[in-house]
C-alpha cells in the first residue's frame, strides 16, 4: 500500500502538484495497480538479461556534418514567454 505521503513525494519528483484530496484518491488507485505489478515477483528471472528495446541495433552514428535545423522564429512560436530570441522561464534555483 502506497501512502499519501509517498504520493506527495512522488508528485514532487514528477513535478505534479498534488493537493490533499487528490493524494488520497491517488493512494488508493495507484496501490491497486502496484499490487497488480507485484505479480511479476512470481516469475523466476534468475540469469535472464533485461530487454530495453527490441531493435537489433546499437550505437547509431552519423557523419559529423552540418545540416539545416529549424528556424529560430518557428521554434519560439509555441512558447508562452519569449524575449530577445530566447525562451523566458522563471528562475530555477
Amino acid at each position: 500500500m502506497i501512502t499519501k505521503d509517498e504520493v506527495e513525494h512522488v508528485g514532487w519528483l514528477a513535478r505534479i502538484e498534488i493537493d490533499d484530496a487528490d493524494a488520497e484518491d491517488y493512494a488508493v488507485k495507484l496501490s491497486s495497480v502496484l499490487d497488480y505489478f507485484g505479480q511479476l515477483d512470481e516469475v523466476d528471472t534468475e540469469g535472464v538479461e533485461p530487454t530495453y528495446h527490441v531493435a537489433d541495433v546499437m550505437n547509431i552514428f552519423r557523419e559529423d556534418v552540418v545540416t539545416p535545423s529549424l528556424d529560430q522564429k518557428d521554434v519560439l512560436a509555441n512558447t508562452a514567454a519569449e524575449k530577445d530570441g530566447y525562451i523566458k522561464a522563471p528562475r530555477i534555483i
Binding site: E6, I16, L30, L40, I87
Partner: protein, 475 residues
C-alpha cells in the same frame, strides 16, 4: 450518406470528377458527423487536393484523403495528443510519415481524437470528449487511436494513421470493424511521433481493406536516419497481396482464449481458424507461458518510459504556463492543471517504478520478463508461420463502463501488449459480429515478416464476407 471507399474506389471517383470534389465531399460528411472522431480538420486540405489535380494523378496516394492521429506532428496543423497541455501547439515540422504521405500526393483531412497521450483503450481520456463507436453510439470506439478507427468505419476518411504502443491501432480496429496493422518495431520511422513509450510504439495504418493497408505501408515504411531505431530493409508490402494460404502453418496460443473471453468473440475467431483450414492452412495449439505476466511487464515499462518522455511538457517551450515563484513550482502547477488524471497516474506510477529503492523491483524486473515474453514468440514462431487469436477479449464496451477503474481497463489489453514487448508485427481483421458488434481476428508474424500476415489477412478477406458488414449509418 457516408460510404466506405477503398483507395481504388477513391481514385476512380477522382478520375470521374476531381480530387478537390472528393475532398470537399469528405469534409462535408465530417461536418455532419455525430461521432466526434476529429479534433480538427485541416484548412489546407482543399489546396492539397487542388495540387493533386494539377499533378495529374502522380504519386501512390495522389488526391487520396487521409486522417492523422493527433500525436503525429503535422507542420502548420495543431497537434495536441488530445491534451490540454498542448493546447494551441502547432508543430514547426512534419513527422517522417507525413513527409512521405505528402510526397505521394495524399490529402490530409484533419487530426483524429485519441486517449490523452495515447494512454487508454477507449478514447475516453481525451480532453475533447469521447469518440462514439459508429456501430453503436453508446459504446467506445476502442483506443487509443479511437478517432482514426471510427472515422474510417463511419466513412469519414478512406484511410488513417494511428499509433500502437500496446494495442492502440488493433483494439480500435477490432471494435470498429476495420483493418489495422502494427508494424515490426523499426519498420516505420517514429520521427515526429510524440513519444509515450518509445521502446514499444509504432505508427500503423487503418483502412477498410487489407490491400489499402499494404499501399499505405509502401508509402510510410522504410529507413529514416532521424529515428535511431529505424531499420534499413526494403520490403514491398503490396507484393504480399496474394490469395493463397495453402500450407500455411497457424499456431493458436491457448493463453489468448483465457478467462473472460466473450463467447461470441471466441466463436467468431474459431470459425475464422476453421476457414483457414478450409483454405488449405493447418493449425495447431501452441503455448506462450509468459503471456499472463506480459500485462504487468508492459504497464511497468510503458509508465516508466512515459514518466521520462512526458517530462518535456513543463510549460516552458510549448503549451499553457501557470504562475509560480520558481521554475519547479511553475512546472508542477502547469502539469497538475493541464495533464488529465490518467496521464498523471501513469507519470506518477512510472516515476515511482524508477525511483531509488524500487527500480530493481519494478522496472528492471519488468525488462527481464519482457525477455521471456519475447522468447515465447521466438519459440512459437520457429514452428509455425503465424499466430492467431482474438484481438480483444470482448466487443466494444459501453462508454463510462470501465473508466472509473483504471485496472479493469488495463486488463482489456491482455491480448495486444505482448506483441509490443516482442516488437513483432500483427494485424487485426474483421472476422464477424458478436451481438451486432465487430470482432477482430489478430494475426501475428515474425519480426519483419509483415508479408506473411498481410497475405494471411488478404486471403481471409477475399474468401469471406466479413469486411462487407457495415455500421447502420454507412452504405
Amino acid at each position: 450518406m457516408a460510404e466506405w471507399l477503398s483507395i481504388s474506389d477513391v481514385r476512380k471517383k477522382i478520375s470521374e470528377s476531381s480530387a478537390e470534389e472528393v475532398t470537399a465531399a469528405y469534409l462535408e460528411t465530417i461536418g455532419q458527423s455525430r461521432i466526434n472522431g476529429y479534433t480538427c480538420t485541416y484548412d489546407g486540405a482543399l489546396e492539397m487536393a487542388k495540387q493533386a489535380d494539377k499533378g495529374e494523378g502522380e504519386g501512390l496516394l495522389a488526391g487520396v484523403p487521409i486522417a492523422i492521429k493527433d500525436n503525429i506532428s503535422t507542420k502548420g496543423l495543431a497537434t495536441t495528443c488530445s491534451s490540454k497541455i498542448l493546447e494551441g501547439y502547432v508543430p514547426p515540422y512534419d513527422a517522417h510519415v507525413i513527409e512521405r504521405l505528402k510526397a505521394e500526393g495524399a490529402v490530409i483531412l484533419g487530426k483524429t481524437n485519441m486517449d490523452e497521450f495515447a494512454m487508454g483503450t477507449s478514447t475516453e481520456s481525451s480532453c475533447y470528449g469521447v469518440t462514439m463507436n459508429p456501430w453503436d453510439l453508446e459504446r467506445v470506439p476502442g483506443g487509443s487511436s479511437g478517432g482514426s478507427a471510427a472515422v474510417v468505419a463511419a466513412g469519414e476518411a478512406p484511410i488513417s494513421l494511428g499509433s500502437d504502443t500496446g494495442g492502440s491501432v488493433r483494439c480500435p480496429a477490432a471494435f470498429c470493424g476495420v483493418v489495422g496493422l502494427k508494424p515490426t518495431y523499426g519498420a516505420v520511422s517514429r520521427y515526429g511521433l510524440i513519444s509515450y513509450a518509445n521502446s514499444l510504439e509504432q505508427i500503423g495504418p487503418m483502412a477498410t481493406c487489407v490491400g489499402d493497408i499494404a499501399t499505405v505501408m509502401d508509402v510510410i515504411g522504410g529507413y529514416d536516419p532521424r529515428d535511431s531505431t529505424s531499420i534499413n530493409r526494403e520490403i514491398s508490402y503490396r507484393d504480399a497481396l496474394v490469395d493463397d494460404v495453402k500450407g500455411l502453418k497457424v499456431g493458436v496460443p491457448e493463453e489468448y482464449f483465457g478467462e473472460g473471453v466473450d463467447g461470441g468473440v471466441e466463436k467468431a475467431v474459431w470459425d475464422a481458424i476453421s476457414k483457414y483450414e478450409e483454405m488449405g492452412a493447418t493449425w495447431e495449439k501452441v503455448s506462450m507461458p509468459n503471456t499472463k505476466y506480459a500485462l504487468a511487464a508492459y504497464y511497468t515499462i510503458a509508465m516508466s518510459e512515459a514518466s521520462s518522455n512526458l517530462a518535456r511538457f513543463d510549460g516552458t517551450r510549448y503549451g499553457p504556463r501557470n504562475d509560480g515563484e520558481n521554475w519547479h513550482v511553475m512546472a508542477s502547477r502547469t502539469r497538475a492543471e493541464y495533464f488529465g488524471k490518467e496521464v498523471q497516474r501513469r507519470v506518477l506510477l512510472g516515476t515511482y517504478a524508477l525511483s531509488a529503492g524500487y527500480q530493481d523491483k519494478y522496472y528492471l524486473k519488468a525488462l527481464k520478463v519482457r525477455t521471456l515474453v519475447k522468447q515465447d514468440f521466438e519459440k512459437a514462431l520457429s514452428n509455425v508461420d503465424v499466430l492467431m487469436g482474438p484481438t480483444m477479449p470482448m466487443p466494444a464496451f459501453r462508454i463510462g463502463e470501465k473508466i472509473e477503474d483504471p485496472l479493469s481497463l488495463y486488463l482489456t489489453d491482455v491480448n495486444t501488449v505482448p506483441m509490443n514487448l516482442a516488437g513483432v508485427p500483427c494485424i487485426s481483421v474483421p472476422c464477424g459480429l458478436s451481438d451486432g458488434l465487430p470482432v477482430g481476428l489478430q494475426i501475428i508474424g515474425k519480426q519483419f515478416d509483415e508479408a506473411t500476415i498481410i497475405r494471411s489477412a488478404y486471403a481471409f478477406e477475399q474468401n469471406t464476407d466479413h469486411n462487407k458488414a457495415r455500421p447502420a449509418e454507412v452504405i
